[in-house]
């Protein structure tokens, strides 16, 4: 090889290597620059995407009238009607009646019930309620003042104080909640008004798909009149266990079809002391609830029947008349009614009732009634009822009653008076 060519190669090789090295350095820098640019672009894209999401979210919010959905989500709990935590829900019911009959006794206008109802949660485990009632006939009374648990395990609920013991269906309803202008006479006579009671009651809801509820209670006595009598006697508050009234009330419910359902209940209560009282009852309610918007809106067929086996000691519990010694009476009575709901605000119904006194002469009374109800609004009701009263030891009578009821404040019907 030509020595000059060798020399040239020897010179050129390092230069070529140097040039190659220089070129590699330039590529690395460019690569680094491109990488940096890519990272910056990615970062910008990410920021733009975030900004886009925020704008979209704001747009949704603005379109929907919400100022800042994300912040609202972070700060908002369930929306519950604004009730001052220190003040309970309060309602007042004005229930007035005007009545006349064919006996010619004239007209009777009455405040049948002016009822103040108060309720509130007490703490996370308890709620309380009270009902104070005043009427033309009976003056003022604390009808109910009780507490109810809200968070017991095993589907248990305990209620204690003075309240309407859960007997049958209508006996523990307040007057103003009844589907008629009056308490069915049979119920009125057997229980002595509402099933007011002082004591405690436990409710167990079976943890099954099928509805089964079992209530059991222990009370001084059951019934508004017997309670009043007890108080009038200066009841000291102490009694033997066998003198207390024990109540058991199972109930169940069947969806027969999508729109037809049946509710069944049984009642048993006893005063064990020398077998003083045994009361058995059954109640059945068939409801057709089509949920349509047509004129016919539904139907309720309800019935209750009670058998009372009771020993009375010297005094008739209704009249207060003396009885000749201790006597045992087996009496039964009950009612059946049918109510059809028409339109959103009207209903028509009929009722048949067989009532007897629980002691002494039975004074059997058969009452046939027809009633019409109109709700001008959800919180006002007008009802007219005609009763044909056939009494065993008195002249038959026709009675005409107009009832006007208004609900002030936070009135709502609970589950039991549905």
């Amino acid at each position: 090889m030509d020595p000059h060519r060798i020399g040239a190669w020897l010179c050129a090789a390092p230069l070529a290597l140097l040039a190659a090295a220089g070129s590699a350095a330039t590529n690395d820098e460019e690569l680094a620059a491109v990488k940096a640019e890519l990272a910056a672009t990615k970062s910008q894209l990410s920021a733009t995407q975030s900004a886009l999401e925020r704008v979209e979210q704001r747009l949704d919010g603005l379109e929907a009238g919400a100022a800042a959905p994300a912040e609202a989500a972070a700060s908002s709990g369930p929306r519950i009607p604004p009730v001052n935590v220190d003040n309970p829900a309060i309602s007042f019911v004005v229930d007035t009646t005007g009545q006349t009959d064919t006996h010619g006794a004239g007209w009777n206008f009455a405040l049948r019930s002016g009822e103040l109802f108060i309720s509130a949660p007490i703490d996370p485990f308890l709620r309380g309620f009270a009902t104070i009632n005043g009427s033309s006939e009976e003056g003022f009374d604390i009808e109910e003042a009780a507490v109810v648990t809200t968070a017991l395990p095993w589907n248990l609920t305990v209620e204690g104080g003075r309240f309407f013991a859960d007997v049958g269906r209508l006996p523990h309803w307040h007057d103003e909640a009844l589907p008629f202008v009056d308490r069915p006479p049979s119920i009125d006579r057997i229980f002595g008004g509402e099933t007011q009671a002082e004591g405690g009651q436990v409710t167990w809801l079976a943890p099954t798909e099928h509805y089964i509820s079992l209530k059991a209670g222990l009370f001084n006595v059951i019934g508004a009149d017997p309670n009043e009598q007890l108080r009038d006697e200066g009841f000291s508050g102490y009694r033997n266990f066998s003198e207390l009234t024990v109540l058991v009330h199972p109930s169940t419910y069947f969806d027969l079809t999508d729109t037809l359902n049946l509710e069944l209940g049984g009642t048993f209560f006893t005063v064990a002391h020398s077998g003083q009282r045994y009361l058995y009852g059954v109640d059945a309610t068939l409801r057709h609830q089509p949920g349509t918007s047509s004129f016919y809106q539904g139907l309720v067929l309800g019935s209750e029947w009670y058998w009372n086996d009771e020993e009375f000691q010297n005094v008739d519990p209704v009249t207060g008349d003396p009885l000749p010694g201790d006597q045992r009476f087996h009496r039964n009575g009950g009612y059946t009614y049918l109510e059809a709901f028409l339109g959103r605000r009207y209903s028509l119904g009929v009722r048949g009732d067989l009532a007897v006194d629980p002691a002494g002469a039975s004074d059997r009374q058969i009452t046939s009634s027809a009633f019409a109800t109109w709700y001008p609004s959800e919180f006002q009701r007008l009802r007219f009822q005609v009763d044909q009263v056939n009494e065993q030891h008195a002249q038959n009578d026709q009675r005409f009653t107009l009832q006007w009821t208004a609900f002030l404040g936070s009135h709502s019907h609970g589950f039991t008076t549905r």
Binding site: D60, G61, E63, A64, G65, A66, A67, P69, A72, A73, S76, G77, P78, R79, I80, P81, P82, P124, T150, A151, L152, N155, L156, T157, T203, L205, A206, P207, T208, E209, H210, Y211, S213, Y253, D255, N261, E263, R287, Q289, G291, T292, S293, S294, F295, G298, G343, R344, R345, P376, S377, E378, F379, S412, H413, G414, F415, R418
Partner: protein
């Protein structure tokens, strides 16, 4: 060998304890939804992770839903309760919850999912006075009729489900993304469909269309009810008819839960047309409880009536 039965019993006891301790692992979340709109959204978002039962049906008036004991047992066994909120369920839900013996789904409980929490309510009453009718104190609760607000309902439900079932949070987010994407696709189509409704004057039976009107540009002039929840009086109807004639009202919108004859009478006397819509999903034939189908059916009914397709 003598200890064998004891060992078996101990093993059985341990197995029972493990089974009970394991709880409903693998089981689907039992959700009770108060109304069909939130029920459908919960199904769309929760997919296979949830089992949803609904209390009210589409054609019912939400203010008049029957309080059935069979709902009590469902609420008793529920892992979560989804409500539309703003007091819409006040007529039936409080009574059911009163006896359901399930503290976790009470309004103060962790499994009470309120779909209204992201909604800015309209028509919030400035005073709580029943002389103004049966007002909802927190504002008009019928926001489900606006599909844009429907997206916010879905978001609130997804967040609620994730709170109750944290293990499924990502699944609920995916479900929400799918449902929101569907609504995002549909909303422009609905806006195009509802274009003829823009500027149309209408009366409704009940005061429940403010959100729908707000979205699609319908101008609400009045209601057949005298006040919310208060039936029409003759005097109010005469006044309404005069107003409708004066303002050239084109539409009488009758919600399917309300009576048709009165809406028809008002329409006949004013020359307006009746459109029947449903304020709850599934109230119109063919919608099958679907929120999306119901929005579509409502808009089609309104447009059909405006374009002279006869009473729908």
């Amino acid at each position: 060998m003598a200890s064998r039965p004891v060992e078996l019993a101990a093993a059985a006891l341990c197995a029972a304890c493990l089974f009970l301790a394991a709880g409903p692992a693998g089981a689907r979340l039992r959700v009770v939804a108060s109304l069909p709109d939130v029920a459908d959204m919960t199904r769309q978002i929760g997919g296979d992770r949830v089992e949803v039962v609904t209390i009210a049906e589409g054609g019912q008036d939400p203010h008049k839903v029957p309080v059935k004991p069979s709902f009590v047992t469902k609420l008793n066994r529920a892992d979560a309760l989804v409500v539309q909120g703003l007091g819409l369920e006040h007529a039936f839900l409080p009574a059911l919850l009163e006896v359901a013996a399930n503290p976790k789904i009470l309004p103060s409980g962790p499994a009470y999912i309120d779909a209204s929490v992201l909604i800015q309510p309209l028509e919030v009453p400035t005073s709580q006075n029943r002389s103004q009718g049966e007002l909802h104190p927190l504002g008009n609760p019928h926001f489900n009729l606006d599909p844009v607000r429907g997206k916010l309902m879905a978001k609130a439900i997804a967040e609620g489900l994730a709170r109750v079932d944290p293990a499924g949070a990502s699944a609920y987010q995916e479900g929400l993304a799918r449902f929101t994407a569907l609504l995002d696709q549909k909303i422009p189509e609905w806006e195009k469909l509802a274009a003829p409704l823009r500027g149309v004057k209408a009366v409704s039976y009940h005061q429940d269309l403010i959100y729908l009107a707000d979205r699609f540009g319908i101008e609400m002039v009045g209601t057949i009810e005298t006040k919310p929840g208060v039936p029409a009086t003759p005097g109010h109807l005469e006044e309404l008819i005069d107003t409708m004639k004066r303002d050239h009202v084109q539409l009488v919108i009758r919600e399917v839960a309300y009576e048709l004859p009165l809406a028809e009478t008002v329409a006949e006397r004013t020359g307006a047309r009746v459109a029947t819509i449903s304020s709850l999903a599934g109230g119109l034939p063919g919608t099958d409880g679907s929120y999306v189908e119901s929005v579509q059916a409502n808009l089609e009914a309104l447009v059909r009536a405006v374009q002279g397709g006869g009473a729908s």
